[in-house]
């Protein structure tokens, strides 16, 4: 199969808060013009801090929330505003794994019923055949098949996340959206789930949108990375590129803030500490959204205030939205500045 599995174009999602019908009220700019594609078998990491809009992007693609504008195409079918009924057959194509394995599984269903439900609803299997496929799915995600008769509360967090994964993969989706799938788990359990995700992705060849705040898992799992800040993608590049030569000041700050279990690396690290907090998505700053916290905002003023930086290709499929990044791929390195001023 050629062509991308998922194409997202200028996706916008605004939430209206505190207003009566038709009345004024405020608008949360959760996602404000996001575009990217995911190729067949590709894993794209969507990284950002709380409030960056990364989860809303995932929810829009799965049509759990209605996009305000923009376009979402799954395998060349425009699903942006399909009705629920028309969407139904396409639900086989996109499945989700959620962060919290406690609240995302129905406590009144056995784990076997949970995993078999998509197969049943899509009328792909029933009776003995259904059970056979559920057993196979349990084995696939490393669960003992006997556990299909148990209820979610009888399982550990890691086992529950495996059930969620088996459910998501039951109908053979071409795209898996995983929203912080390991954040609620202990470190020792996380590793097993990440290995499993990687094996399954390798064997079954589905594409993935991996949403997380954790840069270490992205580096382990993803082919490309998109970094979000306040509803916008600020940088998008192959994983190696992002980690070796991040261009956007926000990406640089994010990477320098991530802690690793190595005291030498922690001491050697040139820290870029961002001032202040993320502005409210109710009133994002004009021009460059990062300018209120950017150590280099003065360098690009007044352009940073007046003009929104475009997400441009600076070569090698490396996209960055910063006024200071040149088309030739040159961009200021914050760590150098931090060392100079120290």
């Amino acid at each position: 199969m050629n062509g991308p599995v998922l194409e997202v174009e200028e996706l916008v999602k605004h939430f209206h808060v505190g207003s009566r019908v038709g009345g004024g009220g405020a608008v949360v700019h959760a996602v404000d013009g996001v575009s990217f594609t995911i190729g067949a078998g590709e894993v794209l990491g969507l990284v950002g801090e709380s409030g960056s809009g990364k989860t809303t992007v995932g929810n829009c693609i799965a049509r759990l929330v209605e996009p305000t504008s923009g376009r979402i195409r799954i395998r060349d079918v425009d699903v942006t505003h399909l009705t629920r009924r028309k969407m139904r057959p396409l639900r086989r194509e996109v499945h989700m794994v959620f962060q919290d394995p406690y609240s995302s599984l129905n406590p009144r269903m056995t784990c076997g019923q949970i995993v078999g439900e998509p197969l049943r609803l899509h009328r792909l299997a029933r009776g003995r055949e259904l059970d056979r496929r559920v057993v196979h799915l349990f084995e696939r995600v490393g669960l003992r098949p006997e556990l299909r008769h148990r209820y979610p509360h009888e399982l550990s967090g890691g086992q529950r996340q495996r059930v969620g994964l088996a459910r998501a993969l039951s109908v053979g989706p071409s795209l898996l959206i995983a929203d912080e799938p390991v954040s609620a788990l202990d470190v020792s359990v996380q590793a097993a789930i990440l290995n499993l995700l990687r094996d399954l992705q390798h064997d079954l060849g589905f594409s993935s949108l991996f949403i997380t705040h954790d840069l270490a898992t992205v580096e382990f799992l993803c082919d490309r990375v998109a970094v979000m800040y306040l509803g916008k993608i600020v940088e998008l590049a192959p994983t190696r590129e992002i980690f070796d030569s991040p261009k956007h000041p926000y990406t640089q700050a994010l990477l320098s803030a991530a802690v690793v279990p190595d005291p030498d690396a922690q001491r050697a690290r040139a820290r870029v500490v961002l001032e202040g907090d993320v502005p409210s998505p109710l009133a994002p700053p004009s021009g460059c959204r990062f300018r209120t916290r950017c150590p280099l905002a003065a360098q690009s003023a007044p352009r940073s205030v007046e003009e929104e930086p475009e997400l441009r290709d600076i070569g090698g499929a490396h996209l960055v939205a910063c006024h200071l990044a040149s088309v030739a791929g040159e961009a200021p390195v914050l760590a150098d500045l931090a060392v100079e001023s120290a």
Binding site: V187, S188, S256, A257, V260, P261, P263, D264
Partner: protein
Amino acid sequence: MEALLDVSDLSVRFDTDDGTVHAVDRLSFVLGEREVLGIAGESGCGKSVTMLSLLSLLPPTAVVSGTAHFGKIDLLAAPPSALREIRGREISFVFQEPMTSLNPAFTVGKQVGEVLRRHLGLSRDDASRRAVELLDLVRIPAPERRVREYPHQLSGGMRQRVMIAMALACDPKILIADEPTTALDVTIQAGILDLMREIRERLGTAIILITHNLGVVADIADRVLVMYAGRKAEEAPVDELFRHPQHPYTMGLLGAFPRRGVDRLQEIPGVVPSLRELPQHCAFAPRCPRADELSRSEIPELRRVRPDHWVACFHPGMNGASR
């Protein structure tokens, strides 16, 4: 190094309707002056219960034994009145969730001032002046304005700074921080870790940092104590621990950390044991690739395997079967 806090043979159990839960089992450790001690472990390892037990902050169902010498006082035997003097004044706490630890109905200045008035007997005016200074100390911009604001008007990082300001109000000797950055974004976490480093440098406060994140430990701790199922698994200075981990559990945790260039992460099979039936053998044995008859029949005592490096394992070291 002078011992500021000396905990010896601390055990905490809870008698519940479903039986006895052994949360902490014969734990000993020492905190030195100006030292940052990292206590690392996964959920349910007893790291938080340990700290709460020191200041009698556990529910009455908890049965605590052992000693915890803070200067001349044994915290575990001290009467409530003596503990009230120490709590918040000599030893103070910062918790994980800065939203629920602050009272939403009072301004930030009032809450910081409350500590000062109660413990130090400051007047209302002095307390509010000092509150502004404290907010400035924890690097909150425009402290004169912030003291008049309510917790909901502050971001998560700012609230955690307020909590730290309250904890520092009486210039404590020990600051106990329980997962202080876990609820925060990484760029905010970096600022809080820098702040704690600065506090130690400027005020000489000793810090006990409880966390599940070995990255945070590597960043800020001088010495690390790894806990598993209520017991100490390993203890060493930070460089020593990360360069030469000895306990298979510690090695497993480090190998489980995702990073580039590895094809597979190291997995630790199985789950953390239930604290209801704490085994009379090595608690890690069921998940350990090196476990043998000995591990399954006796509890390994802590022993020194390298200078200043203690481990509770019958088969410690880097050259074990798992690597």
